[in-house]
């Protein structure tokens, strides 16, 4: 409204001001204000926020995650928007830092008034911005794994497309036992998922009758010599890393120096391409990584691949943020006022429960306008949510490092 008035004043300012023209403009402005909200809403774009890590530990994923969201927004706008209203994407960098993320989220929520914040990556970031989102009735779509996130009192505003860390850890711990691990250790920094990771690993190890030990270290240290000494006293032959790339580099180097010969495993975001570049091959040789793996056979996945440019392998987080955007857009089309509340209330109506199967928002919007029930199947998986906002079930891909390059072991 203020914008409209501002524009009017500006136009007048370019002419010579007369009492009459001011009155006329004022009357026009008043008429505009008095018009029903719907009329004005038609012209107003719906704003969506992308809050991905463009820099920091998640910097390898953030830019493409943002591009995936932008691709959906562009497609939908080209097809006429959401029930006539264009979409506008506002992107911010969370810097993989909770502090920076809160500042960025404040801007997205208070200044840009977005309906949804999409793509938060690190669990600490998501935990930090989540209260801002639910208090301001903005939906939050995240790829973070920490169990604690969906346990927050978020009133339904959080949607998580990443399997939670308990599910991930249980799967990976079983994998470790299958790989023949005899004495298992877990090492990682203090994160929102550290404790649950340790518990899950411990349970699986105990069930398989394997000794288990764990150590939580201080994040962002330049060396972990003493920590490595401490963990090696338990003589593990399988060590699970629980951190991110920066500390995993330091840890892998110190383990190598200490003469550790056993197996190492980490999430793929920790032992990443950047880490393989930063360390000599003999240090990373044999390291294993896992990651929740997108539904590569799905039509949504190939569509996303096409949107982002041929030949690129779409990582799971990018696949998930693509789903975030599609889900948010279709939920907005179901009804409501183009805000976070509308998304919160409607996501499950288009993500699950049967109906016409769709793999993108443009087709979905058409079906919704035609009055059909839709069921979205995304690039990351079926995208069905529990009442808490968690997804149900997903696949994992396991890889092993050989001479500084990843070799796929299996997808299961």
């Amino acid at each position: 409204m203020n914008e409209q008035e501002g524009k009017t004043t500006m136009i007048i300012a370019t002419h010579r001001l007369s009492r009459r023209s001011v009155l006329a403009a004022g009357a026009a402005g008043a008429a505009l204000l008095a018009a029903p909200a719907v009329v004005r809403a038609q012209a107003q774009p719906i704003r969506l926020g992308s809050l991905t890590p463009l820099t920091g530990a998640g910097g390898a994923y953030g830019p493409r995650m943002r591009d995936a969201i932008a691709a959906v927004v562009n497609e939908v706008n080209a097809a006429g928007g959401v029930r006539g209203r264009p979409l506008q994407l506002v992107t911010e960098d969370d810097q993989t830092s909770p502090e920076a993320a809160v500042r960025a989220a404040r801007k997205l929520i208070d200044v840009d008034r977005v309906a949804a914040v999409m793509g938060t990556w690190a669990s600490s970031v998501t935990t930090a911005v989540a209260p801002l989102c639910w208090e301001n009735r903005v939906s939050l779509f995240t790829v973070s794994g920490a169990d604690s996130i969906t346990l927050l009192p978020h009133q339904g505003y959080i949607f998580r497309t990443q399997p939670n860390s308990r599910l991930q850890m249980r799967t990976v711990a079983k994998f470790a036992v299958d790989e023949g691990a005899q004495r298992i250790a877990w090492m990682g920094p203090q994160t929102p998922f550290a404790q649950s990771s340790i518990e899950e690993f411990q349970q699986v190890a105990q069930a398989a009758n394997r000794p288990f030990t764990s150590l939580i270290y201080e994040a962002d240290k330049a060396t972990y010599r003493s920590e490595v000494d401490q963990i090696l006293r338990a003589r593990p032959d399988f060590i699970m890393f629980g951190g991110y790339t920066p500390d995993s580099i330091v840890l892998a180097r110190d383990l190598f120096r200490a003469g550790y010969q056993g197996k190492v495993m980490a999430p793929a975001y920790a032992i990443s391409a950047r880490m393989l570049e930063a360390l000599p091959h003999e240090v990373t040789q044999g390291a294993m990584v896992y990651e929740p793996w997108p539904e590569v056979a799905s039509t949504a996945y190939s569509r996303l691949q096409r949107l982002l440019g041929s030949g690129v392998e779409v990582d799971p987080y990018t696949a998930q943020t693509y789903d975030h955007a599609n889900l948010a857009v279709m939920a907005l089309a179901i009804g409501g006022d183009g805000n976070g509340l509308a998304i919160k209330d409607n996501v499950r109506r288009i993500s699950q429960g049967g109906g016409q199967s769709v793999d993108n928002a443009v087709d979905g919007l058409k079906a919704i306008v035609a009055g059909q029930k839709v069921d979205y199947t995304g690039a990351s998986g079926p995208c069905d949510f529990t009442a808490e906002g968690d997804i149900t079930g997903t696949k994992f891909r396991y890889q092993r490092v050989d001479k500084g390059a990843f070799q796929v072991m299996k997808i299961a």
Binding site: L215, Y217, D229, I249, R253, A278
Partner: protein, 288 residues
């Protein structure tokens, strides 16, 4: 258990030796200019990155790259002291210390702007550690220690025998007397800002050589550096060395009783104990 203690002692001595270099810089600046210059944090970082540019971009070996780290960090120290901190000094040590904290945040972000937030490693080979009597020690650690010890030896010789070194000690011991003898306190102040921050730069690079560097490299060690200087006696250069070894060893030995997560608290605890029981530090505040 015995091997464990021995190992932690060795680790502590290595860390302590590296920590001593910036601690000397910090305490020397305090001795002459009479304020805690917390900008030491960003100068550690600047030195580490200057050394990184020399080592990785230009392929200079570690030891000469260290000299480059000294020069660049020293130059930054000289300029920032002249234009930022010196005008603050008439308003008291506390004001200047606060300005130094602000300065360090600004400089840290300058580094961040230029290099980004990513961790970077120096271009050095990685070796398996040596093992003897159940204790392990890395070749890189030994080299770093040797470098740190040489830098410190050079500094002691400079202070002991060179004319400039003697004037620095004179101003630190008794500024009034030094002024009567015609020593230019301003000039000495500039030299100490250059040398002190140069040492911080060397320390930053030494700490990073074994590990990795990022814009927070200096910030992470500043508490330990400050603790080392306080424990040894603020203003005392041999005190800084002793303090650094004490803090280094204490941080490592603390692992026997607490989780590694709480290791940083040891620095605080050391400051608290020393200030309560022996406020002048282990060696008092005589500069040399």
């Amino acid at each position: 258990m015995l091997a464990e203690v021995a190992q932690l002692l060795v680790n502590g001595i290595v860390t302590g030796t590296l920590l001593a270099v910036p601690a000397i810089g910090f305490t020397a600046i305090f001795a002459v200019l009479r304020f805690p210059n917390f900008a030491i944090a960003s100068h550690c970082t600047i030195g580490a990155f200057a050394g990184y540019v020399a080592n990785v971009t230009f392929g200079v070996p570690a030891a000469p790259a260290l000299a480059f780290a000294f020069l660049v960090a020293g130059l930054f120290g000289l300029l920032t002291d002249e234009f930022v901190l010196k005008p603050m000094r008439p308003y008291g040590a506390l004001t200047t210390a606060i300005a130094a904290i602000a300065l360090t945040v600004v400089l840290e972000n300058v580094v961040r702007f230029a290099f980004g937030n990513d961790l970077r490693g120096y271009d050095l080979p990685i070796f398996r550690d040596w093992r003897f009597w159940g204790i392990r020690l890395g070749p890189q650690q030994v080299e770093n220690m040797a470098l740190a010890v040489s830098v410190m030896a050079a500094l002691f010789l400079f202070l002991k025998f060179s004319r400039t070194g003697k004037t620095m000690r004179a101003v630190a011991d008794n500024p009034t007397l030094a002024a009567i003898k015609g020593i230019d306190a301003d000039l000495v102040g500039r030299i100490v800002a250059f040398v002190g921050m140069g040492l911080a730069g060397v320390g930053g690079m030494l700490l990073g050589l074994d590990t990795s560097i990022d814009p927070l490299t200096g910030f992470r060690v500043v508490l330990s550096v400050f603790a080392a200087a306080v424990v040894g006696g603020l203003g005392s250069i041999p005190g800084a060395v002793v303090g650094a070894l004490v803090v280094g060893v204490a941080e490592e030995l603390s692992l026997l009783v607490v989780e590694p997560t709480y290791r940083s608290a040891v620095g605080f605890l050391a400051i608290l104990i020393v200030l309560t029981l022996r406020p002048r530090g282990l060696l008092g505040e005589k500069a040399y």
